[in-house]
């Protein structure tokens, strides 16, 4: 899925002069991503860690042709930052911020519909196409370029999965963290659609969790539209009902959104569901060896 982030990515970091923004702008650049600009209102005109800073996203796009944005802006201002990026013509907006009020995200997501922009997140680790570009906070060194697509609602659980894959010499085409909030810009279905269409992806690993119906929707989509092998894992099998398990979207409410329901729906759709988080890498290895390369 190097359509989303790859060597043509020209990255802008919103909130670049903050602690998080600074650290990760440099880390993305060190990984090989072209970091062309930063935006911090009021600090336009300076060079920060060698990155030109602008007052607005529009200016950064005009002067440096930024096409992708990575947002490190506090929750109270993050929805606004997303809308500003979309308005300025950024094509891929990645919002790391956790804690954005849900009704703010309802408004922002609705405003983005119909526009030529893809929002990833919020409350996500970002997206990486190993060997090409890193737009997020994930540790680059655990990744390996390859042909397995990874899509996940989690952060460190995704790193766990990636670690298991890399240890087996199974590389990743793109890893997308879609985030742990109830209202997000890119769903499992969106990511699966992109992976299915990507000539560089042979198999897909999807990591879900309790809460909502995104995995059930994904299962239905896989059944109808995905021919590549899919492996799935759902965390929160032991979560008590009615409690928010860290992520704002990870809550079993009104009896729905349980891990068991999701795993059943996914299994029914032909997804190879693993029960243990320790078995994700092995399951992917199994489906890869079972599917002859010609068929993928």
């Amino acid at each position: 899925m190097s359509i989303l982030v790859d060597k043509s990515t020209r990255l802008l970091v919103q909130g670049v002069t903050g602690k998080e923004g600074t650290f990760h702008a440099v880390a993305c650049r060190d990984y090989g991503t072209k970091v062309v600009a930063g935006v911090t209102p009021g600090k336009g005109g300076i060079l920060h860690q060698g990155i030109p800073v602008f007052n607005t996203v529009a200016e950064a796009v005009a002067k440096e042709w930024a096409n992708t944005s990575l947002i490190f802006v506090p929750p109270a201002f993050a929805a606004d930052a997303i809308l500003e990026a979309a308005d300025a013509g950024i094509r891929v907006v990645v919002c790391i911020t956790e804690g954005i009020p849900t009704l703010d995200m309802v408004k922002a997501a609705r405003a983005l519909q119909g526009k030529d922009v893809r929002l990833i997140g919020p409350n996500c680790p970002g997206i990486i196409s190993p060997g090409k570009a890193k737009v997020g906070i994930m540790p680059g060194h655990i990744h390996l370029p390859g042909r397995v697509g990874v899509v996940s609602r989690s952060g460190t659980l995704t790193y766990e999965a990636v670690g298991q894959l890399t240890a087996r010499g199974i590389g990743q085409s793109t890893c997308v963290g879609i985030g742990g909030d109830p209202i997000i810009g890119t769903t499992f279905v969106d990511a699966l659609r992109l992976f299915q269409a990507d000539p560089e992806t042979d198999a897909i690993l999807m990591i879900g969790e309790i809460g909502g119906t995104a995995e059930e929707d994904a299962a239905a989509f896989v059944q109808e539209h995905v021919t590549k092998p899919v492996v799935g894992f759902i965390c929160g099998q032991t979560a008590p009902p009615g409690r928010r398990m860290g992520h704002a979207g990870a809550i079993i409410s009104g009896g729905t959104g349980t891990a068991a329901e999701k795993m059943a729906a996914m299994q029914k759709a032909g997804i190879a569901v693993v029960k243990s988080p320790a078995d994700m890498g092995e399951a992917v290895a199994r489906v890869l060896s079972a599917t002859p390369s010609k068929q993928r």
Binding site: G246, K275, P277, A278
Partner: protein
């Protein structure tokens, strides 16, 4: 965040959503006074966050102020057990004393966020007084829904769809539309995650009233609602969880004996899952987050071991920005400061792993290191059994 019924009704009244007259009492004496003020039959309702209070004996009619006092004294101090409380029940410290109503019909009105649509949805049903999930399962056609698009807001056609959908008489439609509009305004203005009026009653004199009210608030929006934060009832929360929240630690107490400390919510849930899969019982969910300073780790460890059920601890950290040597430093410091020892299994991955593992090995403390999640979980479960 949850609040009590009497608090929800007070908020709704600020928006002009009518409810029966009444107020909260913390003693039977005050309950009697309120009943006196209201006159006639009153309803005395236990105020706890959980639902199902009526079936558990927490809601009673009283026909006189004396009876109200008697009933209140029975309910106050009860440990009310419903299908939504912890097994030991919830202590009732307050009752709501309200005027009794002459009810002609019970309806349902609720607002939640429809995640699939990405929009708030207002649901109304003529099947009031029942659990809406039950109605959704057995009689979905009895529920009318409208999604509210932020670009248009709540429109007249939305409220008409709801009103006509409820089968209300023509002369009640305007009242209903007004009621729904005010209720929606409250939901939006206060950043609710859920708001429910069940039952919404039509009285014999054609008034619409919220007989019960439930409002849950988006935790992410609380910083812009200090007036809602002020309504928090710490008695409804587990003491260890209250303690953890002071240090911005995401902690949820469970019933098992294998404590776990993890960075990241998904990995933390997966850690609980794998503990169970290898035959153990997780004692908690605990996400220390990416920031995890030595101080945070110390607080987290202290809270974990404050749970008397915990026999062993499994620390599962996948460090990216969080370096494993820093984690080891924090752990060693924590254990030394707390001067308590429980078998502790540490599984670390990420930056500076070997250094971190060496520091633990040389600390003089009896940490067990593990390779991979399964190894870590198995060792922790084994240690808990042996303890």
């Amino acid at each position: 965040m949850k609040i009590h019924e009497y608090q929800a009704k007070r908020i709704l009244s600020e928006f002009g959503v009518p409810a029966p007259r009444g107020r909260a009492a913390e003693t039977a004496g005050v309950a009697r006074e309120i009943a006196q003020e209201l006159g006639g039959t009153v309803v005395v309702k236990a105020q706890i966050h959980a639902g199902g209070r009526g079936q558990a004996g927490g809601v009673k009619l009283a026909r006189s102020p004396e009876e109200a006092e008697q009933v209140a004294s029975q309910i106050l101090g009860m440990k009310l057990r419903t299908h939504q409380t912890r097994p030991e029940g919830q202590l009732v410290k307050r009752v709501l004393v309200e005027e009794g109503m002459d009810i002609r019909q019970e309806l349902y009105l609720g607002i939640v966020i429809d995640r699939r649509a990405g929009l708030p949805v207002i649901m109304a049903s003529s099947a009031g007084g029942m659990e809406i999930e039950e109605v959704a399962r057995t009689r979905p056609q009895a529920i009318v829904e409208v999604h509210v698009d932020p670009s248009t807001g709540l429109q007249g056609f939305h409220t008409r769809k709801l009103g006509f959908g409820l089968g209300l008489k023509a002369d009640l439609l305007k009242t209903a539309a007004d009621f729904v509009t005010r209720f929606w305004r409250a939901f939006e203005a206060k950043d609710c995650s859920l708001a429910e009026i069940n039952p919404l009653v039509i009285t014999s004199d054609d008034r619409l009233l919220a007989l019960d009210a439930k409002m849950n608030f988006d935790d992410n929006a609380l910083s812009r609602h200090p007036e809602i934060q002020a309504l928090r009832d710490l008695d409804e929360e587990s003491p260890l969880e209250v303690e953890a929240s002071k240090f911005n630690l995401n902690y949820i107490k469970l019933d098992g004996n294998v404590g776990c400390m993890v960075n990241g919510a998904g990995l933390a849930m997966a850690t609980m899952d794998i503990i169970k899969l290898v035959g153990g019982e997780p004692a908690n969910f605990l996400d220390v987050g990416g920031g995890a300073s030595a101080e945070q780790i110390e607080h987290a460890f202290r809270i974990l071991i404050s749970d008397k059920n915990v026999r062993a601890v499994f620390i599962n950290i996948f460090g990216g920005i969080l370096r494993c040597d820093r984690l080891a430093e924090g752990l060693i410091k924590a254990v030394k400061a707390l001067d308590v020892w429980l078998p502790t299994v540490v599984r670390m991955e990420g930056t500076n792993v070997e250094l971190g593992q060496r520091m633990l090995a040389e600390s003089g403390l009896n940490f067990t290191t593990a390779q991979g999640m399964r190894d870590g979980a198995e060792k922790a479960v084994q240690a808990a059994r042996a303890a």
